[in-house]
């Protein structure tokens, strides 16, 4: 089983709140990724990182931000949650063609 962790697993929050989704990996991977997944849909890349202090936006427009201060930690922040942010958020690490995923955070914004 991959050593990549996400917290919280489930989150229900009101509109306008600031939230941070946590992601940590113990495999020493330089590359990390955040995806958004809706039911029956493809995974969409929203952020990625090549290493410490390196972050880039993916192809899916997102109002979230990320940081990479330590190799093992890649948190995602939403400054002001909206109902349109309701989705499953998946964190992954590893080579592009060999990614290991966390269990995901299911976010519901009311």
């Amino acid at each position: 089983e991959a050593d990549i962790y996400q917290t919280p697993r489930y989150l229900v929050i009101g509109t306008g709140k600031k939230i941070t989704l946590e992601c940590s990996q113990t495999m020493g991977h330089d590359k990390m990724y955040w995806y958004q997944q809706d039911p029956g849909m493809e995974l969409h890349l929203i952020h990625y990182s090549y290493g410490v202090n390196s972050t880039e936006k993916g192809d899916l427009s997102s109002e979230s931000t990320v940081s990479r201060i330590r190799t093992e930690h890649f948190p995602l922040t939403l400054e002001s949650a909206r109902p349109s942010h309701t989705s499953q958020y998946l964190c992954a690490s590893g080579y592009l063609y060999e990614q290991y995923f966390g269990p995901g955070t299911r976010l519901t914004v009311t």
Binding site: G40, L90, E98, Q99
Partner: protein
């Protein structure tokens, strides 16, 4: 039209059957092909990846790439109820640094 097409299913087969899952794609530059398995309320789990054409086998699973037809397959032999999950294909080009193109997944149900 999507770059990667995958039948959403559900595909329902009896236990012990051979399962064939498929993806078609349009970009002839794709060189890496991956299959992931995703159980309900879990993250995807990498089953295997292949580079370019050919077959790759791992236990009961065989991945096949046909670049001339732009078609990839995952075969599962002696299917088990524990194989019931959604199977996602993904692919990328040789020079991509970050972008995987994903299929939407096929839901597989193995009936005991």
């Amino acid at each position: 039209q999507k770059e990667v097409e995958q039948d959403p299913g559900p595909l329902s087969v009896p236990e012990g059957a051979i399962v064939s899952l498929n993806c078609t794609y349009s970009n002839s530059a794709f060189q890496y092909f991956m299959w992931y398995r995703q159980y309900s309320r879990k993250g995807p789990e990498l089953l295997m990846y292949t580079y370019s054409s050919g077959n790759k086998e791992d236990g009961r699973f065989t991945a096949q790439v046909d670049k001339s037809s732009k078609y990839i397959s995952l075969f599962i032999r002696d299917s088990q109820p524990s194989d019931s999950a959604t199977y996602l294909c993904a692919m990328t080009t040789l020079d991509s640094n970050y972008q995987l193109i994903w299929g939407a997944g096929t839901k597989l149900i193995i009936k005991p």
